[in-house]
Amino acid sequence: MGNILIGLEIHCQLTSLKSKLFCSCHEDYRIFKPNSNICPICCGFPGTLPLLNQKAVEHAAMISYALGSNIPEKIMFYRKNYFYPDLPKNFQITQYNLYGLTCIGSSGSVYISDSKTIRIRRVQLEEDPGRLSYDSGNIHNSNHTLIDYNRSGVALVEIVTEPDFTDPGEVRYFLNKLSSILEHLGVCDTTLEGAVRCDANVSLKGGERIEIKNVNSFREVEKALTYEISRQTSLSTRNIKINSETRHWDEQRKITRIARTKEEEQDYRYFPEPDIPLVMLGNDFYTHIGKLVPELPDERLSRFKSKYTLSDHVANILINSKKLADFFESCLKIYYSPIEIANWLVNDLLALIGGEETTILDKLKIEPKHMAELAKLVDEKKISRSTAKQIFSEVFRTGQAPSELLSKTDSSQINDENFIANAVELVFSSEVSAVEDAKVNSSAINFLVGKVMKMTKGRADPKIVTQLINVKIVQLSNS
């Protein structure tokens, strides 16, 4: 699979705005009945004019900043002219670099490994079209196409990369990182349906560029690319020419299909939007945005590694989700034991909530104070690790405090040496042959330890148990 070039066009909605890009309708269109979040402006009624949402410019600039892009001192809007039923004005107000660099961002870069940086060609602010829906669920079996303008005019940021990716894995890594950046900025909730969309273009060496459109979640992008690369590879090994075309990702069937319209031949007749004067951001704007941008994933990662001495692997997992990293740092504020807590989160918590679904973190019953308390109990050796694990899953399920659970089930660790010595005596007297074995075979000692632990229902401190057994075996061997 050598010589593959992949470029991405990512659309993300600015979901934390209150209103649409050019009117005062709600940005959060999802909660409305069809065509009830609309006004004359976003429906393109005659005589209406776009009114630029200043906050949207700020949020788009924050994204540009976080992607290492240049932000110009003045930005312009353009009209992209094409006819489509979801587009009420039959043109989209977007940005373009026709008279100098007037998009909100250009020439950025995103680090993905020591040997690879993805270049960002431009970042632009634009309006989302409406949505088409079909009475029977899909276009092929429906008599009517219905248009819902609730989404029309929602602020959208388009991020265009250079064709710098060489395999779908890099794309997945980049998109995860982008999600985390957006999460850290707090400008786009990537978990909302349709809040992020991705188009990709792929070309094999010597082949023409294929556009894949309609990929409606970051997670599907890797699948679509993998499919498309194997399709193109198999064509080219059979010497079939790959033509430049637009294909759509069919999420149900997991294949790409050629689009019926020849979208690549469109002439969009871009020209400056006359209803929005040049927006002067000024030379302080970049600094202003810099102050609004919080700590970003890259900085946070290196801080996690240096300050908390976390491994690269563990730190990466935490940073990949802002909510998880925030959860981690909240725990530390209550009880400072970074490695212990990080391990609990990365190994145990993620296992319980199922892989990457960290989006539900803030809806969990387990809270940072619980996690901190548990880590403290383990650190202070008040409970064994195996007990801690049982308590952890109990806290996860019920949201009760670990100490409460501990007193209820009386599962606190036993480190009373007399008590443990008694148990050891009992085991030695019932496991005579194992004791004999243990004098010559050290692995039999583990068997005896296990017996004692079983007898104390796992509550005895295994270190003390092992120590006592060793002493007793030595005594028996010498006598």
Binding site: P40, F45, P46, G47, L52, R269, F271, P274, D275, P277
Partner: protein, 484 residues
């Protein structure tokens, strides 16, 4: 006083306010006048008689109870039918908007209503404002009140004719390349195109956004001042409306005027009809009599004004008119059984020929490969022209010339020659390209046909235009209203 309908805005308002007559009586006199002459003039597309009478009764009630009825209380305004009126059909003289009833008022309409003005009806125009004669109206041409066989000018022909024939007190037009000033000139009334960005365009159905402004058409300079003071100033609904509401230069009629310096533009007077140039020169003599300094200047970029103007206007139009797909508003044309592409092409074939021509040319000049050859050049010429004009306003207070290079002509005379029509706009497009204010004021007649003089000033220098126009108005007493 002959008839109530002869009164200007200030006189009518004063009469109503002082109780000389009621707003209802005044509106009735306007309605009777409309009934008498409208059949011959055809200035209106939609009349608003019943609502206008209701509004008048409301005003009379306020006056009886000593409430403030507004500075324009009872004044009837005709609104060009490309300016949105809440609940009142706004067709742009197009089949495409035959049944369109706007859900909101344009800012200018709202402001006029807030001042107590009464919307009497919607006035005829060339479809979407594209034309200079009002012959390109889906609803038939408007006739010039001075000679009913002649065109009233355009595209705000209804606005010019209705004011001249006293079917309304004042009217609003829109001026993209001369559409207020041309009918003002052809109908012997006063028309002002304000500085770009001083009057809100919110609710004006766009033809060419970067060029157009709404402006008043009135029988007197005084009424122009009154309407401008009511409608201009910042509007949060229009990002291109620059003036803050408190910053609006309040216009007024001065009693004494210091002499100004004016320059006559050679290129604008050279090519025009001899009758027109004679009239302009004799008007200039009036200025000289008042001690004004008159210089002749040459503006090189005038030669590029028309190609620049039409390229930009058509480019913007081609995009603005893309929204008319009859899905959300329009005319009766059921979608049942249509595939979308076929539907919109069938629907859009209902644009008039002139509109189609401009959409086609506009799409062409924006298409890849031609963009830098046409549209980009046009924009460069536009900024050259603006610079040349502004540098002259550093030297002269006003530039002067004819509004139209020709006299009004017969209906149908030029309709088959679009190029000849475009060329008539040479004098007026300058102000739109440069974003500066310009006024057309009656300057004389030739064979009973009106001739208008145009004055241009620097950005936001409307007061200078008012001063000069009012001086000329007093010096040469020209009838604004023919007998019909």
């Amino acid at each position: 006083m002959s008839n109530l309908y002869d009164l200007g805005a200030l006189e009518a308002h004063r009469g109503i306010n002082q109780g000389d007559f009621t707003a209802e009586e005044y509106v009735w006199s306007i309605i009777e006048r409309i009934e008498r002459v409208e059949g011959r003039v055809h200035a209106f597309i939609t009349l608003n008689k019943e609502n206008a009478l209701d509004d008048a009764r409301e005003i009379d009630k306020k006056i009886r109870t000593k409430e403030d009825a507004g500075s324009l209380a009872g004044v009837t305004v005709g609104i060009k039918d490309n300016i949105s009126t809440h609940g009142l059909k706004t067709t742009c003289a197009s089949k495409m908007l035959e049944n369109y009833v706007p859900p909101y008022d344009a800012t200018v309409v709202e402001r006029l209503k807030n001042h107590g003005a009464i919307v009497i009806g919607k006035l005829n125009l060339d479809e979407f404002g594209m034309g200079s004669t009002t012959e390109y109206s889906r609803y038939g041409p408007t006739h010039n009140p001075w000679n009913l066989d002649y065109v009233p000018g355009g595209s705000s022909g209804g606005s010019g004719a209705a004011v001249s024939s006293r079917e309304c007190t004042v009217s609003l037009g829109s001026d993209t390349g001369g559409s207020v000033r041309c009918p003002a000139s052809f109908c012997s009334v006063v028309g002002l195109k304000p500085t770009y960005g001083s009057v809100s365009r919110f609710g004006l159905i766009s033809y060419a956004n970067s060029l157009e402004q709404i402006g008043p058409i009135c029988r007197t300079v005084e009424d122009v001042v009154t309407i401008m003071n009511a409608i201009s100033g910042h509007d949060p609904n229009d990002n291109t409306c620059f003036l803050s509401r408190s910053n609006v230069p309040y216009l007024h009629i001065k009693q004494d005027r210091a002499p100004s310096s004016i320059a006559i533009v050679k290129e604008l007077i050279d090519g025009c009809d001899p009758a027109v140039s004679r009239t302009i020169y004799s008007a200039l003599d009036k200025f000289k009599e008042f001690g004004w300094e008159c210089t002749e200047i040459s503006l090189k970029s005038v030669n590029y004004a028309l190609p620049s103007y039409y390229t930009i206007a058509m480019a913007e139009a081609s995009s603005n008119l893309a929204r008319y797909d009859n899905i959300r508003y329009g005319f009766s044309f059921p979608v049942e059984g249509f595939e979308w592409n076929t539907y919109i092409s069938d629907v859009r074939s209902n644009f008039g020929e002139e509109v189609k021509r401009r959409i086609l040319i506009g799409s062409y000049v924006l298409s890849s490969g031609y963009y830098s050859k046409y549209y980009l050049k046009a924009r460069q010429l536009r900024s050259l022209l603006r610079q040349e004009l502004l540098s002259n306003f550093a030297k002269y207070d006003l530039l002067v010339g004819p509004t139209m290079p020709v006299l009004p002509f017969r209906i149908g005379e030029k309709i088959d020659d679009p190029l000849k029509m475009y060329l008539m706009d040479v004098d007026t497009v300058l102000a739109n390209l440069a974003g500066i204010p310009a006024i057309s004021i009656p300057a004389g007649h030739s064979n009973g046909l009106p001739i208008g003089l145009q004055l241009m000033a620097g950005p936001f220098q409307e007061q200078k235009l008012i001063d000069a126009a009012s001086l000329l108005e007093n010096a040469i007493n020209i009838t604004r209203s023919p007998e019909i």
